[in-house]
Symmetry: C2
Subunit: 153 residues, 2 copies
DNA sequence: AAAACCTGTTTGACATATCAAACATCTACA
DNA sequence: TGTAGATGTTTGATATGTCAAACAGGTTTT
């Protein structure tokens, strides 16, 4: 009815772009942030051709910079986006695995699917919640323990 | 490194298909489940042309059936998928809004983005968790109340 | 009956994302 | 030094999803 669902389209980055950014961050880790097309492609499990084309778009949007050897590095904005995505993924995964007992592998898959889609503020609320719930607050510990029992009903 | 992230691609349905199925379900509610292209298009806020093309795909996959007046209705499989998506959305939204205090509108947007992506089992775990946490279990109530305080730190 | 409106489909365009294959260029190594 | 391998780009294909515009039928209004 409302067009709220079309907000889905209105994402900062697509899943593909999100993973390109994170890949550059990871691959470039030992090289001052600089990454090569080939290494990004290998990391992502897609062809060099695809990475080359995708980077065209990502460069245009100012999310990476390029040096004279055609290596790429996250721009300030690209880095901010990559870090936000990694943080949200970590929060979601921790919640799924440590709070509601989703198996590790499934938590990995589900958090991967969702990492770039949840809003910043939701990510923050979630992080606050797991921080509280996995703290040594007695009420939190008791609730979690009761939930474990509740689950095995 | 691993190709886990490509599992993203391996979804039962895309966001677009998910909303087409749910739209058919909603639009057809008062007509024995039968829906027309025009009404689906209006509901989704896209053109009739787009719906027409998308339905071609959705029919091929056996998710809807068509009658002699070109009306469509969810097949048994299509209905199962639509219901699973609606259930997951409700669970996510309730968690965001009622547990971690995400504002209604944001909870709506985030749950919409994610509804078709989270796995069945994760959805079930989440539902168990919110059922417990919003029950009258004293430990649950105390934890939630402590979390409210913790938030306003 | 005619005109206006509503419906569903098709076409051509565009955007994103992927592949394989061909190419040009570098690099390494024998 | 010459060949083999690695690298990056481009092209042509496929798939999904969207739009606007044109078209063909059907229904309603006048
Ligand atoms: Mn240099
Ligand atoms: Mn991911
Ligand atoms: Mn009939
Ligand atoms: Mn949605």
């Amino acid at each position: 009815m409302t067009d709220t669902w079309k907000e889905f389209e209105a994402n900062e980055v697509t899943h593909s772009v999100a993973h390109h950014l994170v890949a550059i961050h990871e691959v470039g880790r030992e090289y001052g942030g600089w990454a090569r097309v080939s290494d990004i492609a290998r990391w992502l499990g897609i062809t060099r051709g695809s990475v080359s084309i995708n980077l065209r778009n990502i460069k245009t949007r100012g999310l990476v910079i390029e040096d004279e050897h055609r290596q790429v590095k996250l721009s300030e904005e690209g880095l901010k986006i990559a870090q936000a995505i990694m943080a949200k993924k970590a929060a979601v995964k921790a919640f799924l695995r440590d709070v509601i007992n989703v198996p590790e592998e499934q938590a990995e898959i589900d958090s991967c699917k969702v990492e770039h889609l949840i809003s910043h503020s939701t990510g923050e609320n979630l992080l606050r919640f797991i921080t509280f719930l996995t703290s040594d607050n007695p009420a939190a510990r008791e609730a979690l323990s009761q939930f474990r029992k509740f689950e095995d009903r």
